[in-house]
Symmetry: D3
Subunit: 293 residues, 6 copies
């Protein structure tokens, strides 16, 4: 159950309108690694979780915070659009190249569809979609996904920080950067704790009996490109992070198999295949040709 409070977690007001920047901010609102993604991802992980207690409380606790970040970004975007030129003729697009340039760089649906409002899309206008989230039920896999999401997110916010010098916007971004710092650390701590407490080990999923995998290649680097430096990394020699093997290095595959013969499905699927009478047919055609010549 969610209760909404008409307050923000942090001040979210720009000094100046800036419709081009509003479009860029959409990335961290509605993009692959935007706030809608992490909010939904953590909540679905909670709803699908198979263990009560601290891990479930954690995903619910942070998931709810992230919905508040969606709200902070949406209100910021609406304010950036409020007094900005959005292509109305009076904006003199035709005459002033600066204004024309600005209008050219906006999300034109901000004006036409949302009437100067935020939208659940990324910075190129692609709608947010459910495939952005990850919630597998395996917590070590999912917390690694979460750590990645916070890293990608913080990288994007850091880039956006340098694309404006609006003091109000930067303040909000500095807050989001700090929360991303926290959340990166937290997911890495949680992933470590999961392993220390015996919930899950590497390789994920750890309770699949490893004897049933083809162990001859479980710790073997096989190089399918011709870059020789790949042999120099810690992934090509020495102990493996899961503590269960030693890396080895091999140029190309260590096993190969012939490609199976082509399939011949039911003829009523009308694929092209070797017909029994192909040879005859061709022979006939060749003869026809010879006759004509």
């Amino acid at each position: 159950m969610f209760l909404h409070r008409q307050e923000l977690q942090f001040k979210s007001t720009p000094d100046e309108p800036d419709a081009v920047y509003a479009r860029k901010l959409q990335e961290v609102l509605g993009g692959q690694y935007g706030e809608i993604t992490v909010a939904m991802q953590y909540m679905f992980q909670g709803w699908n979780m198979h263990t009560p207690g601290k891990y479930r409380d954690l995903v619910f606790g942070i998931g709810a915070e992230e919905f508040g970040h969606v709200e902070m970004l949406a209100t910021m975007i609406a304010q950036l659009l409020e007094k900005a030129p959005l292509g109305i003729t009076g904006d003199a697009v035709q005459d002033d190249p600066t204004v024309a340039a600005i209008v050219g760089g906006t999300d034109v649906q901000h004006a036409i569809v949302a009437g100067a409002g935020a939208r659940p899309v990324d910075s190129m206008g692609n709608p947010w979609q459910g495939t952005y989230i990850t919630a597998s039920g395996n917590l070590l896999a999912d917390f690694t996904a979460n750590a990645n999401a916070e890293m990608q997110g913080r990288t994007q916010v850091a880039r956006l920080y340098h694309m404006t010098d609006d003091h109000g916007v930067r303040e909000l971004l500095s807050f989001l950067l700090a929360r991303d710092t926290m959340h990166q650390n937290q997911w890495l701590a949680a992933a470590k704790e999961l392993q220390e407490e015996g919930y899950e080990q590497l390789p994920v999923p750890s309770n699949f009996p490893q004897g049933q995998e083809y162990t001859a290649v479980s710790y073997q680097y096989q190089n399918f490109s011709d870059g020789p430096a790949a042999a120099e990394g810690s992934w090509a020699a020495g102990p493996t992070p899961d503590g269960k093997g030693q890396f080895s290095y091999h140029e190309g595959p260590t096993t190969t198999a012939p490609m199976p013969p082509p399939t011949h499905p039911d003829s009523r699927l009308y694929g092209t295949t070797e017909l029994p009478n192909t040879v005859e047919k061709i022979a006939g055609k060749v003869q026809d040709k010879l006759h004509k010549e």
Copy 2:
């Protein structure tokens, strides 16, 4: 540049046809965490990389291997479909509930669109799409994405392992499980090496000057749900994984701000707003009503 060799990295032939299983295998071919995803993800990371040498050689080396995994799965799927009932009337769907059930569980486009062939889609028929991949240019973020992809992928393959007892299919899966074990280990090793060699630290991106984030909340757990056990985790007290702070715990937000007032964009965007003469209008209407009564 890619050279194709008409061999497979491993034997990929089922013992029996099974169209329902063919559909399920599509998940690890063309799903969010399927082989197309990792192949494309590693290659784009290589093409966008800003540093030569072992890390680039690594993504190219594994990316090319993954394209070969796409091929192994596609040929397996085509063989699983080869002699399976696919809804042709002669399959007696109407009469035999077992056959009907099988046909009901297939990807019907396998027959109608591909003529008993594999497709670049997931197990529910959603087409593979470019948003599945991650290639940010920041290697610590991206290698964490890669580790996650291999964990999710290995979890899915492990689940699929129990959904068949076909010996040929299981052999292929046992090979893929082993490679996922290798690749999980390898990306974690590479992520560690990146940090040890000073390329990148936590929090990602590490060269953003952390003094510009709102540091008061950089290591503070803020609990937006009412689960008290969230306070018990290693993310609520003690040193942080980035080695730069101490976690603290707080119930709910530590900062709040009033929600900014509603925006008032250009009236020619025709949003609904308080009109200057609203009060008058309403007064008039009320009077009209009173008169009528």
Copy 3:
């Protein structure tokens, strides 16, 4: 800002596992008119609203409730999947047509991707997407969209009610039906109030100066099909709902214009066009042919 409470608004537990029904329930969780849609739609309307007070409080108040409905459905789906056959070989798919039929009717990603968990998708596995929502800033238009969403939603829940006889599921649906009844009524009441208070009139948007539209056809039914009964409706004669005109009826268009001539863009876009020397070219070719014969 959102606070999460680990309680549900209503009891949400099935009597029996049912993976096929879990898939169907996804429609009202993650479909075009599912709970994610209305939750996001009302919230974006709030964030983009240009007027403070009761209308904004309304969308925030109901939007937050709807996120709780997402949660009730997600937990219900996870429970429906908990003990259900999901295609694990031990489920004896091969032998028992009933089990095979059940497995064939499931969302196979429930098992392979989510490990028996809910997903942000509809009943055919299409991911939820941002284009499902409507938030234009014009409240009369948007409240009409909301009324429609609640009507479509209640219709879908009513259909789902007859697709199960599980008492626990039906109890949850009876609760959702009641809330949809409330929300239908509420949006219609709000739309009426908007008009009575002078915020907005028909036709939407009402402050566009109607004199600038081509008024000759503003209230004219033009019948482009050959169904004569279209003339019998209240849309073909009598006063119009906006109180500003009288409907009239006309067979087909009342105005026509010739189609403009084809365009001739820059030749470096390599479209096919009448070449200046076409005639000559053809003449030459014909002559060539004659010579050969």
Copy 4:
């Protein structure tokens, strides 16, 4: 059956080329509420309709008209692009910021993909898709969807009206505005007629036995946000639009239930769960640590 006539319903020729505006016009051609949407929506409602006569004639009559509007917009867009700078080097993008700005604001696929032609996409380049339409078979729900579509559409056209001062474009828009006025009125009239004639009542679907919903909350406003003004609306007290109840107001939920315990699906789905030996494992680890210290 459709017959095409090489005439337009109204004059559709711009005074001047304008590629930036051509892109904006795509919204009302191929966007969520563009003409393709309404054309397809009304036709599918006709094909799926369960009652002959005036309602079916109506959707067919207007649906066919809307396909003609698609045509008017497509020909207009092709003409706007005909002589406009589209990024050909000779357009001197590099030197003249005005031209650069114009080119920057275009749909670059207009040139690269369509060779200066219209496309079935919206103003941000997202392809039109089938999920934009609504055709449930319940006519009161669907006519409400139609009224909403015409309101959103007219709002977008009104916004676009102010984004150009090209006389030819404005003439076409003034025609479309008038038809949207007509269609808004018509769907509202049809929705009213449906109810008056007893086809359907509120709440939709009206023939679902309302006694089977959880009536205690059927007319109760439950406020999940902290905005007190929500209590002031006509949705919080007084008779309900469906004529069957009285609105009441409540702060937050009137019913709650504990969240069900976490699920424990088959272990071969490899979700993370409380392992039987977790306690022992942790104890062992702690002891190990103590020994080391």
Copy 5:
């Protein structure tokens, strides 16, 4: 301008209900190569065409016919669904495996969303989308696209023909097969005529000055796989179809270039790169390690 007539081009009524088949038929209604695709494709080609006369009349003439085919399929699907079991509990899904199997094979949105009606989706439930169509303005390219669309379409209809023995359905399919035969022939005839009349030649686009392409490789087969039989085809020796060259065969590339060095974009994009002080940093770390040991 389109006029709709409430007649079909051909009889479209099934003998028996069949919801599973209704789902399959969706492929040729709303799939990649379904009737919506060809209808929209031909119409957009017409609206974007740069030459008046027979080619434009052709695309308009056939495009309008195809919209009628959409209608025939939609009405057929609605009838196939009319009396079929759609998962209503009374259908006894739980008890009768045959019925369960049938329901498992349906498009469940047919019942839940459309109330037993057709939908603008393919046979796996993916919504139709604008990217399915092709309209480049180059007629030789586009007519080749059209020929392909009719070939794919006829192949799919032929497959569907064998998936039912319902006489009514087969009659409709036999009609569609005949029209696909016609349309395949027609587009090939039109493509030939375009070339004979000098509108366009091979290679498309023919008015691009071929001297500006890198002619050394214009007619050279370069084999990037190790299949030797590729050298045996008519594409590896002899005259080329465009009449302008001779095919030659080469194993692998005939030109190569070193991969350019990695890029080094602005450091504020926070990609990982060789830092100036990397060497020093690593040296320091190594020393630290040595000290500790």
Copy 6:
């Protein structure tokens, strides 16, 4: 199996940075007819093929080459972005309209998401998707699809050639144009060979017994538009390309059928239908009205 070599097939380095052009190049990398499409299309055709030998070797041989073209374009795009203004504040967007215009025309995700790297998207930012490819198992249909793909691709590259005067970019494009010339010719040659050798004939699929189609309309042009010139083409009279018939011309349909009556599905799907007591209800209402008046 794929082996990667760290070389390019051709030199791929621009003379100057150009972020706007980098965005445009995305079309031929990740668009509907970009290099990812043809690479994946040819490979899937190979994996699904039912005949060994030269045709399979051909698709594998060219498919692998196309993956190398993806790589050339991705490295080119990364270089075009390397030193280009990407919206960093120091780029002085606010002051210099030329820079502002440039930034406005970029793919803003190039900077925010990829840190100046290439992405698997088209020039409007839509992600590449699996529905772009065609692999039906019928080789004549598929080779026609391939010919079309190369024609559309070459047309797009030719257009892009005129949108830059960067010598390095043009060199790469001249190489791609030449390969597209080759590939167009090759697919047309292969399609011809398929027919000459008796694998497949027109109409596709040729082994469907043509006597089962409704032959009365197999070669009949039916004109559903009012353009009279459609009768002048070679598709309206004379022998058909498949060598099996004679074209004829007819104004409009030659067969028609009445539209079937509306369907009446199960009432628990809550569609609107003629209720048994409708007449009574209306009569009652009318009487009520009369009483009131």
